[in-house]
Symmetry: D2
Subunit: 443 residues, 4 copies
């Protein structure tokens, strides 16, 4: 999806930031460069020709406000109370972000009242009876070593007014939300309700999607760890496949609408023979379909490894009605189980004995702790979220764009997704690595 210049990139604020930041400039070099100005912006499209043409023609160039500490902040740290909430499914690194937010608030800004909201948005709703957790540096000091979320999480929306009531009651100044699409929608609504009530509460989102498909964003936390673990699983599938005659290893990986995990894991573990992703249509039947290709490969090579993203091949379920889960995500039909059965049936019908091993490692991937690379990313996301919130920014996300951390207004990415471009080098490399044919019959 090409970045559209109509995207709003102006970040909302609660008002003028007038308080001198307590951040001690510890830089040994030029202290002035410690603080970032709102006018510093990072280009989204960095191809020279496009940029120069736009600049010369005076057309608007898409760019985002650079993240970082501001010299003036909006909130008085001594009086500020902050809350953090994590929502939706697990993703490696949530605890690292919670830790980073707490330490940055505490040590950089001197904010000492920080609360963890338990079990996602449920934690705001008194009828659930979940207590808050008081988050101190001691409490969070080791949590980055563990997977999961020490705050707890839940799926699904909650009453927005009740949430804002709770924020008022708790006297929260900054709310940090860690979550996916549903959480982004809720965060936007919360910010709107706050605005309606003319409250001074900042809402800062840290977007969570293990699928790595946030629009305009380089890399979301947890993705690299997921690929790391997926590689081990594919190695297992490969070992199973080559250890029998006509062995098929079938691995379903995360990726509801985009195949980044499947594609990256394929590039990192090149034993994969077929990589199936939502972006690339494929046929099962027919002379060029997957089943015929698989038969050919099993006959000539004796084994095959298939990696399928969970959102691939949804066309096969067209006739079955879809439902939504508690988070509002469309419930996908299970392409892994479907393929397992389709392959098994096909070879049974053709009286060819195969041995298929199907692996669905989703929970063992989502629940591990972050690797070093993600730990570093999470640490930065937490710190930048704090800088943004302290400066009075609101209704925005912190994210990585072209290797720089930026502020993205929540509406800029809502409803859009990054996908694997079929003409991109990444996908070309996948096709070369796997050697897979197009898997499409004539049309």
């Amino acid at each position: 999806m090409k970045p559209r210049s109509s995207i709003n990139t102006s970040v909302s604020t609660l008002g003028d930031a007038k308080i001198t930041s307590p951040i001690k400039d510890r830089a040994q070099a030029d202290g002035n460069r410690r603080f970032v100005m709102d006018s510093e912006r990072i280009l989204v499209n960095i191809k020279e020709n496009d940029v120069i043409k736009a600049a010369k023609s005076g057309r608007r160039i898409l760019s985002f406000e650079r993240a970082g500490p501001r010299s003036k902040i909006f909130f008085d740290p001594s009086k500020l109370r902050c809350a953090i909430v994590s929502c939706g499914g697990l993703c490696p690194g949530i605890n690292s972000i919670v830790r980073s937010v707490v330490l940055a608030l505490y040590y950089n800004y001197g904010v000492h009242n920080i609360y963890g909201v338990r079990y996602g948005l449920q934690g705001f709703i008194s009828s659930y009876g979940h207590d808050l957790i008081e988050l101190t540096p001691e409490f969070v000091s080791d949590i980055h070593e563990r997977g999961g979320t020490i705050l707890g999480s839940s799926r699904g929306p909650q009453d927005i007014e009740a949430i804002v009531d709770a924020l008022e009651r708790m006297n929260v100044g900054i709310l940090f939300t860690i979550g996916g699409d549903g959480t982004l929608t809720a965060s936007t609504q919360i910010a709107d309700e706050i605005n309606k009530r003319e409250l001074k509460i900042s809402v800062i989102g840290i977007p969570k999607t293990i699928d790595n498909d946030i629009y305009l964003v380089d890399r979301s936390f947890g993705f690299d760890t997921a690929v790391d673990v997926a590689v081990d699983v594919i190695r297992s599938a490969h070992n199973e496949a080559v250890s029998v005659h006509r062995g098929v290893g079938l691995v379903k990986l995360m990726g509801r609408q985009s195949g980044f995990i499947a594609a990256a894991a394929t590039l990192a573990m090149p034993e994969v023979n077929y990589c199936l992703i939502p972006e690339s249509d494929f046929d099962l039947d027919g002379p060029r379909g997957l089943l015929a290709a698989l038969e050919e490969r099993l006959t000539t090579r004796g084994h095959a490894v298939i990696v399928v993203a969970e959102g691939a091949g949804q066309k096969f379920f067209k006739k079955t009605p879809k439902t939504r889960d508690a988070s509002g995500n469309l419930r996908l039909h299970d392409i892994g189980v479907f393929l397992k059965e389709a392959i098994t049936d096909y070879f049974k019908r053709r009286d060819i004995e195969i041995t298929l091993k199907y692996i669905d490692p989703s929970y063992t991937i989502r629940s591990v702790g972050a690797n070093a690379n993600d730990d570093i990313l999470c640490g930065s996301l937490g710190r930048y979220a704090v800088h943004a919130g302290m400066a009075g920014k609101t209704k925005m996300l912190v994210a990585l764009c072209n290797n720089h951390f930026v502020h993205i207004p929540m509406e800029a990415t809502a409803g859009k997704r990054r996908q694997v471009e079929l003409s991109s080098d990444m996908w070309m490399s996948v096709l070369e690595t796997t050697g897979q044919p197009l898997l499409k019959n004539e049309e």
Copy 2:
């Protein structure tokens, strides 16, 4: 199961071993101790009282022939041809054994004609068209770093006469079989057919069961690696369970008739709250059943981790007829899926919202490479198998008994299994670690 003194512990031989072993005694100490005599035997029961009582009363004491190189061997290494076959499901360490057998034959005894039979017993049957692999030190030098079996494997019996025909045709002197119960049965039948035909072919088995339940044997290869990996999976399940309100992590582990993996993994990762094994009966319903206990725990503690061995709770399927798989194993009903559904239904009926994550890591455990401990065990098993075969022993297994490698006649363990004794310290420790109640209603 108490060792029965009626067990046959006499190892069969092909005839007198008259050739001086080419093994150079490289020991720097007393060279005489390098070779083991057939009269050296290792006690099975090593409790002093029992042994002394038996010794004094002249009763037979159960013991096994000690494994190790003999000073005289049966086969002429320069003319000998050997074959190795691996059968059944994957288990970490098969490649390490293959490597060890090849290197011991080649370097210790100077046997240079070693063949890998492809895809299990199928490899003997010409209609399958599988070629043999020539196994050289170069070919096997790195294979221990990989999971799976480079020989390939298959399930199910093949015609015994055809197998012995193939052995004759290939002019094999020693056949090494790596496999489980079915393979043990086939190996016994092969040895019997060889005997009937008055051939001089030794059949040496290396028993494979990831479940670690070989009768009278300390530890079978792959088990320790399986526990290692299972621990990571349980950690994932725990992370999932504690990250939501009323979270349940349910992990199905291997263990068809014995719960050693489930019990050991529970001891190594003490976040498990319920460990369910075939040996210990449990109820689902009723005031003391698992479901009520789980409800109680979810109410008071908010989360639970359940580990279930695949053979546990088979009583719940009594009315459904059982079938057998290609290896002749009884097809178990899937207790993991059953429990997942039973738990989900129970809480739905009681209108209590829970989040259950079910993990079945079987293939990702079976297919990994052996850890250091198993690599060492596999290396020894391979070497001892070679010593036994070279000495003309046949129709026997090599295995570890009370920390010593021994020769066990195939019939001694056939049809019997080691199980977790419910009065043993191991099971007591599991009960203490989990704190789980008996999970049984009054009878």
Copy 3:
């Protein structure tokens, strides 16, 4: 070293155990077998011929008292106070033992006053000013996931009378000591002083040596983890060695007086070409010395990997006086650095360019958390230590002998060591795996 029948195997007690054990028999089978009787003993030598001959002749057979819960205990749990101390260098699993001791005391026996003595024996001496740690189930619940010791440790002796004064002052009933030779000596002296003062304080030792060389004991905790990590280090050394022309990877592993780690790691990672251990004398110079062998190998094969146990080759330092460290261990001269220099000098003198990479991974091995296998062992050691202490046993160690946990009087192992027997299968296998010559010139 052959077990000597003169070894004392009688375990000391503080007096009659008259209190009924609070351990609820949770076994589903015959409850009577839950408790172990003092008369149950495990044979040390389990070779049938030796045992029967001794039994018939009425000669004493070496055996140890079986560990396990006794039906009667000595201490009243409600009044009992216990202390745990860890001494000497790090070893994987200390935290798992501490956790197990605390949980077994708390949940099995209802002992609620458990104290961690900080920084080894220093913690008893008030002048150091170290506070005690109160050990609760909550405090220890996660510690097994971490390496090191949460109690802290220190080397070196402390005044025995002052230690017993502290035990009296603290009103301790059972002292658990985790440590090596020095700690064993101190523990014995403490028990003797307690006896002299006619106090009722039990001293139970859990022997710690990563070298795995406790006399008559199968396996000490941390050893298996050490081998696991050592294997990765050897793989690194091998990668370095093969990636250059005439590359030498030299790895120094633990093993002051015995080469079990070096030998086991060599068996698990068979890229090792020379394994040097304290038990096996070798020459450097001369036609059959290590240097000539290495030159030959580098010429023909282009690379070599050497693993040396820290206690090997101490004869090369004969002229340099030895000193002792704070723990009373003889300070060894550094054979790793010595070999590195000797090899470098040798090839420089011969004008042959080589590239040697020396790796001394000691601290990165000792400081990791226990693997699953060691975690299970540590859990058992902790529980058995508690059972022994509660029963009023004293001046004894818990350890694994022929796969059974036993009680060993402290004096039985003091001053003795298990070593790699040069005629054992383990060492033979090392020689076969490495293909290394005897490395000795004629004498």
Copy 4:
């Protein structure tokens, strides 16, 4: 170091690329976008203000040619012979690059004559007698799973004319060089000599530095893996430090002139208390020096972890003359050993007992296989290097700049380095995470 606009960014070519690329456009989308045009360029500085100002003023904007397959290629694949050489110290990922280059040449372009030059530049010099390796898809298929370099490597320059003689003799069309600064210099000289001789040989460099300090480049291969492993080592040092009273864990990490590994590892494992890098001057003595700070910390907190990059604190060796190693790198004095001794001496002088554990994990980091993230990077670097070479580009590097792969003329980065900017967010975050003071006395 700010990018200088005087940098040459024009890539040299051997001549017009006139042959139609055999790359089959397998993209399912618009095939035209499969090929990249030389006019596509990626901006180096992507801050909007700077770019627009420059664009409007007509000033040159620094940008690099985008990497990727060209529609026309220079070499005829059927006649082309290619060579690959790896030089200098190990770095995770070399084998992955070799594999990728071979597979891309073979399968994408149909080049079947590919040779591995053994042991670095030595492999070109006949007097060393190293044979070439013929590189086939089969040969390289598994090598990415191993650390080291299957080609072998060596340090130091070789005669440039002799190298070009060898290239002529071998009839090589494209030479791929994997190496650091010295290799870059040699590659430039080789390209110049080729040019002088008017040969049509392309020289494509893949820059190797585990230190991640290539000028203008985002990330070099092996860095992420190095940080992964370094994190485990720091955890070990931390475990050692906290397990004794006044424990100091001192870890030396790679980083000759830049502290990226030390800084990144500190961010990923926040137990580090002092992170010392070449870019940040520090004092040892004096009231604000490291030693006083350390004493303060050991007194109040009882332990400390120090991470030092190998190039830090070189001012302490000013009086000792420096030498160069075979690769022409300045031999650094060993800051790790120096600090170990300085700290030990300081506390001995002050009669304060401390326990310091020093870990230098260099070889165990450099020699591991690449992690998934680096494997993907290496795969891309190899493919892009092949695309560049096939198109007749020469005397250039492939590298990652602002997340895009680009062509960088060799002279553009020669003699320059990326360093940790002391005013950057990365270094600020390190200071916040460690809490370390400036460690500088007044000046």
